[in-house]
């Protein structure tokens, strides 16, 4: 009975656009939805460092190497903002990492595709970060305060990522025939996975309704996907890239109609059968395990210092 009243007050706050803060009462399902979504978001940022990180040593110039390092560092930072925000819901960082390693927590499927060459680095920045930005701009208005604040911070930093990617694509399209071909092949590899980043159609997404009612999500998967398509197709056309969809057309309302996504591929990658699923997780575990001695040394050092302080 008391819960029903609390739930009513909770919904009234959400409806009035009052943010929910960590110590406020919230339905357990709201908390669980947030833990799942925010930790998945955090893991995506961190796992997302891998495909690009591979190219830091092979960047074609010092300028591009410095930029790529800064971008990978930002992604790590974004992961940390999100882990901190998730921890306000009463889950420890160690627990979040365990769930990732045990396969209980997911990350964005798009990072299970390989980054084959420098053009892919451009395509990832332009398309994958571009899709992430559309989603994250919307999430700035999410109802959970710490998540919203993390999104505001991330969005401020993220637009450099997309611009550096588009710059790579544009300079390749200004280059030799071989470079143009590389860029075209990269958009063909990354276009569909980027559209899949927004998730299943709203009708097929089991969790949309409560997430919308509680304003965790502010716009539906399909609406966000359409915003991305409408922004990106003109950018592709401007630099002479062809979107790998024979049936797309510009509608009178200024929006683009596109073919449907290959959902079998989408679900297959989510289930763990993408080209790099095993590799990405294995690498993350390896890095975590190899860092164990650093954490242990830091704990031991701090303990020693505290003991010294007590005996002094």
């Amino acid at each position: 009975m008391e819960d029903a009243k609390k739930l009513e007050e909770f919904q009234a706050k959400i409806d009035a656009e009052i943010k929910i803060e960590p110590k406020d009462w919230m339905p357990e399902e709201y908390r669980q939805h947030l833990v799942r979504q925010m930790s998945q978001h955090a893991h995506s940022e961190v796992i997302g460092m891998q495909p690009e990180g591979n190219w830091i040593t092979r960047a074609p110039s010092l300028r591009s190497k410095k930029i790529l390092m800064a971008k990978a560092q930002d992604e790590g930072g974004h992961g940390l903002y999100l882990y901190c925000a998730t921890e306000t819901l009463g889950v420890s960082r160690d627990q979040l990492l365990n769930w990732l390693h045990e396969g209980k927590a997911k990350y964005a499927s798009v990072f299970n595709y390989p980054c084959l060459n420098w053009a892919d680095v451009g395509a990832i920045g332009w398309l994958v970060d571009g899709a992430a930005i559309v989603n994250q701009v919307s999430l700035q208005r999410t109802s959970y305060g710490p998540y919203s604040r993390a999104m505001v911070r991330i969005c401020k930093e993220e637009s450099f990522h997309q611009r550096q990617g588009y710059e790579i694509m544009a300079s390749m399209m200004n280059g030799t025939a071989d470079q143009q071909k590389m860029a075209q092949e990269a958009i063909e590899r990354w276009w569909w996975p980027s559209l899949m980043m927004f998730g299943p159609h709203d009708g097929d997404s089991p969790r949309t309704s409560n997430a919308m009612k509680w304003k965790i999500k502010r716009e539906t998967n399909d609406d966000l996907r359409q915003q991305f398509i409408d922004k990106t197709i003109p950018q592709a056309e401007l630099i002479g890239l062809k979107v790998p969809d024979d049936n797309y057309e510009l509608l009178e309302n200024g929006s683009y109609k596109t073919s449907d996504i290959d959902w079998d591929e989408f679900w297959n990658v989510i289930k763990g059968n993408g080209p790099c699923n095993v590799k990405r997780l294995k690498h993350h575990k390896k890095a975590h395990d190899e860092g164990r001695w650093v954490r242990e040394a830091a704990i031991a050092y701090n303990k020693k210092k505290e003991q010294k302080l007590q005996t002094a």
């Binding site: 803060e21 110590k23 406020d24 009462w25 560092q73 930002d74 930072g77 940390l80 903002y81 901190c84 925000a85 921890e87 420890s92 960082r93 160690d94 604040r149 993390a150 911070r153 930093e157 164990r292 954490r295 242990e296 830091a298 704990i299 050092y301 701090n302 210092k305």
Partner: protein, 96 residues
């Protein structure tokens, strides 16, 4: 405490430039003060966002519990005379 963890949580406050108030930015994990302030610098001031930085162990922060907030802040409810709009000024008075 287990021998493998990320260390305690420290809350981070950034002052964007001299004269401005310190604002909560987020949190970091660290094992001691030095590590906390350095982690906070690397995480929250990568783009010259800060001229000042505070870190404090989250467990040392005292805060009001949400369910107590109403009664806790209640004493200020009935003191409307603390607001300038409470007072009646004579017709035609200026600069006050």
């Amino acid at each position: 405490m287990s021998t493998d963890n990320q260390g305690p949580i420290w809350e981070v406050f950034v002052q964007s430039k001299a004269g401005k108030p310190y604002k909560h930015a987020g949190a970091v994990h660290a094992f001691d003060k030095e590590m906390a302030i350095e982690n906070a610098r690397d995480l929250y001031t990568r783009r010259n966002e800060g001229s000042g930085l505070w870190v404090v162990k989250a467990e040392d922060i005292v805060s009001v519990q949400a369910e107590d907030a109403e009664s806790f802040f209640d004493p200020s409810d009935d003191k409307i005379y603390r607001h300038p709009t409470f007072y009646t000024m004579p017709e035609g008075s200026k600069n006050i």
